[in-house]
């Protein structure tokens, strides 16, 4: 008897709960965003989050639902599938899975939810043809941002030693570290140094951010880079340890600098230690996707978006470089000159599609030739860079 009563109570409760599902307003456009880290990490995930806010501000009736810190350490009970299902049930029409860590899972989830569009940021499964038809890829051409960042480091270094704090090792992270290296060599030469004397050391922590017990500790690695003679450390990870440490050291009177990454506001952590930040401004690219999904014109594509060369820091540019207070006036002027040269190169109709400074003679770390003298590296060979470049110190795999 009591069992029957309790069963009835459970059933009634379920039914009542189901009828209470909020009815979605007709003109509301819901989109989902999934972050690998917290939305306030002052790095990659925060830049993604602000991209979502940009859609909310510019697409009337749009509403963001998001899930932060989706990784086995922070949310072991939740998979991308669970999160996406929840977002779809909230009414999401497009879901941005904003990390390389979601690349494989995005394809699997998209297959299970075919009438929702999935955008995997930084992935290339659309390019390779592995992705289902409701998946798209977006990435900004951060190679330019890293060239500029490397240049700022090369102009500033007094010890001739530059450190690069890398996340995990893949094509993306290798090509960004290599771009920074090429920029640093070039600008070290501009200042009258011999580029071959420049030491450029890459340390990989193993993931996009610190997971205690799993990755190397980025704080420790940054300190090691400084302690072994580097006076500029560039960050390639999602979070802001490099600029935090640099700030502490500057406060102690050391002449060191850092270049954070991803998030436009990250120099604010320690302005005097900051040479500048190459940042992503995802808003416009994401807004275009959301509008296309809303009006039904969306089709899958692999978008590798270049900066707005009229002004890389404009509201329309996906990649920018904000100079920091730590960069001397003389170096600011030199850097502005280099940025203007890069813009000239990128917009020159007579130069084939390529990244500046990615020109031969260039060898991979093991000595294999990447480009002969006078030859440009094909952009896709940059995208899939299989090793670091010859002259860089650090692991390639």
């Amino acid at each position: 008897m009591t069992r029957k009563v309790s069963l009835a109570v459970v059933i009634v409760t379920v039914m009542v709960a189901l009828t209470l599902v909020p009815v979605f307003a007709q003109d509301e456009f819901v989109f989902g965003m999934v972050f690998v880290g917290p939305e306030n990490d002052r790095g990659w995930s925060q830049a993604q989050y602000e991209g979502g806010q940009y859609i909310e501000q510019n697409l009337p009736g749009s509403r963001m639902v998001f899930f932060p810190s989706l990784n086995t350490a922070d949310n072991p009970e939740t998979t991308l599938m669970d999160v996406a299902q929840n977002m779809v049930d909230e009414g999401a029409k497009v879901i941005f899975t904003t990390s390389d860590a979601f690349e494989e899972d995005t394809d699997a989830v998209a297959e299970a939810v075919p009438d929702v569009v999935f955008i995997n940021t930084s992935g290339d499964n659309v390019l390779t043809g592995e992705a289902p038809a409701n998946v798209g890829n977006v990435m900004g051409q951060m190679e330019w941002g890293k060239l500029i960042a490397g240049c700022a480091a090369g102009l500033t270094t007094e010890t001739g030693k530059i450190g690069y704090l890398g996340p995990l090792i893949n094509g993306e992270t290798r090509r960004f570290a290599a771009s920074a290296y090429l920029g640093a060599r070039y600008c070290y030469g501009l200042k009258g140094g011999n580029p071959d004397d420049l030491q450029f050391t890459v340390t990989w922590i193993g993931f996009w951010f610190n997971i205690p017990g799993v990755t190397l500790d980025p704080t420790e690695e940054v300190n090691t880079l400084y302690d072994t003679g580097a006076d500029v450390v560039l960050s390639g990870i999602d979070t802001a340890q490099a600029i935090e440490i640099a700030g502490q050291r500057v406060a102690n009177g050391e002449r060191v600098w850092a270049i954070p990454y991803d998030f436009v506001g990250s120099c604010d952590i320690a302005p005097d230690a900051c040479l500048g930040v190459p940042f992503f401004h995802w808003g416009p690219a994401y807004l275009a996707v959301a509008q296309a999904v809303q009006d039904g014109s969306w089709s899958p594509s692999w978008d590798w978006v270049s900066p707005d060369w009229a002004d890389i820091n404009s509201d329309q540019s996906i990649v920018g470089f904000l100079q920091g207070a730590g960069l001397s006036d003389e170096n600011k002027a030199a850097l502005n000159g280099v940025i203007a040269d890069l813009a000239g190169y990128a917009t020159n109709p007579f130069v084939p599609d390529s990244f500046a400074l990615w020109a031969g003679p260039l060898n991979l770390q093991d000595g294999t030739e990447l480009a002969a003298a006078g030859q440009l590296v094909d952009p896709l060979d940059v995208w899939y860079l299989p090793q670091l470049l010859q002259g860089m110190v650090g692991a390639s795999e």
């Binding site: 409760t13 379920v14 709960a17 189901l18 209470l20 599902v21 989902g32 639902v65 998001f66 899930f67 932060p68 086995t72 350490a73 949310n75 072991p76 009970e77 939740t78 998979t79 599938m81 669970d82 999160v83 299902q85 929840n86 977002m87 049930d89 909230e90 860590a101 494989e104 699997a108 299970a112 996340p167 995990l168 090792i169 893949n170 094509g171 992270t173 290798r174 990989w204 193993g206 993931f207 997971i211 017990g213 799993v214 990755t215 692991a395 390639s396 795999e397």
Partner: protein, 365 residues
């Protein structure tokens, strides 16, 4: 007797009510409506078959670990190493998934057997450390957990790294032939794995109730020294309890790699082993209660994903509710003992005074 039952019932209901009130208070403090929050968690867990599948997919490893822990708790062991045993199960299953290419049913059986072996060996090691070298299973377990994690990270970022390069994120996904298959797209749960979970629930319950081994575990758990005097092979009890628990933990770990993530990832055990300890404590080490409490935990955990998506509330609120529940239940168990003692004493006193007033009359007669 009747008052005992009433006291028991009160002390089961009371901590649940207090935990819910406590969580509600927290929710109100951060400016949300408790009713809405609980409803959101409920919807997150049970709104449709896909949501239910997410609950079941978390319940499945949790219940297997918990059933294993019922065995070790019965034998008086704090098997903190259960997390590492899950990890070793995941590693062994991953090895089989990567290296073998057999017809699907044989392939899956081989992976499951490998996972069971990995977990059992790792737990057996903790058992041997305890019985032969006098290393408390708690300390041994903590050490072995760390080692198992390191081994997994080494494999992920080293020998088993994806072709594009090294990361501490994941191995290459396993081939489809090596993976457990979902029942359907509406209810993506592996029935093979679910069958194993039910088998382990029934198996553990029966083994503890009706076998000589179960009796020996209980005797060892109650008092190892007297059990030994009574001729119970306590060393064998300890090691076998550990190994059976490790086997179940290994199977739990295999589900995480062969179904949930389809690859080996760091921390793939996800704290489920530690959660299992809470489940079994909450169940008072009763085999039959354990699956239900595990299910409630899984529902709260999976349902709270919804909190984030709908209400922008931190999903770790679920952890607060669970932690409060376990603490309050343990607290109320202690209190119940005192109250029962007190009410017994009062009843005895009353009985004594009744018999005192009654007995002189009896003499007169």
């Amino acid at each position: 007797m009747r008052s005992h039952r009433l006291i028991s019932a009160t002390f089961i209901v009371l901590p649940v009510v207090v935990a819910v009130l406590f969580t509600s208070l927290l929710v109100m403090l951060v400016g949300n409506e408790p009713g809405e929050v609980f409803q959101t968690v409920w919807m997150g867990a049970f709104r449709n078959s896909n949501a239910l599948a997410a609950v079941v997919n978390f319940w499945r490893p949790l219940v297997m670990v918990s059933m294993g822990l019922v065995i070790t708790f019965t034998a008086g062991l704090w098997n903190i190493g259960v997390e590492g045993q899950m990890m070793m199960g995941a590693v062994f299953a991953s090895w089989a998934a990567r290296s073998l290419a057999l017809p699907h049913p044989i392939q899956i059986s081989a992976e499951i057997a490998a996972a069971a072996l990995g977990g059992a060996l790792w737990a057996g090691l903790a058992g041997v450390l305890k019985t032969r070298l006098g290393v408390n299973e708690i300390f041994g377990g903590v050490g072995l957990n760390a080692l198992a994690n390191l081994l997994a990270i080494y494999l992920i970022s080293g020998p088993w790294q994806p072709p594009e390069g090294g990361s501490a994120h994941s191995t290459t996904p396993f081939p489809a032939n090596s993976l457990l298959q979902p029942a359907s797209t509406e209810f993506p749960v592996s029935m093979v794995a679910l069958g194993l979970a039910f088998a382990s629930i029934i198996g553990v319950t029966l083994a503890l109730r009706g076998t000589r081994w179960g009796l020996q575990l209980k005797a060892t758990g109650k008092s190892s020294a007297s059990a030994r005097l009574m001729g119970v092979p306590t060393t064998r009890s300890v090691i076998s309890a550990m190994m059976v628990c490790g086997m179940l933990a290994g199977l739990a770990g295999s589900y995480r790699v062969l179904f949930t993530y389809e690859s080996l990832r760091p921390l793939v055990s996800g704290g489920i082993g530690f959660l299992g300890l809470l489940v079994v404590l909450l169940a008072g080490i009763r085999a039959l209660w354990t699956p239900f409490i595990a299910f409630a935990f899984a529902a709260i955990m999976a349902g709270s994903t919804r909190l984030r998506v709908s209400l922008q509330l931190d999903a770790s609120l679920a952890g607060v509710l669970q932690g409060a529940l376990v603490l309050l239940v343990l607290l109320s168990n202690g209190l119940r003992g005192r109250v029962v003692e007190w009410s017994d004493r009062r009843a005895a006193k009353q009985a004594a005074s009744v018999s005192e007033t009654a007995s002189p009359g009896a003499r007169h007669e």
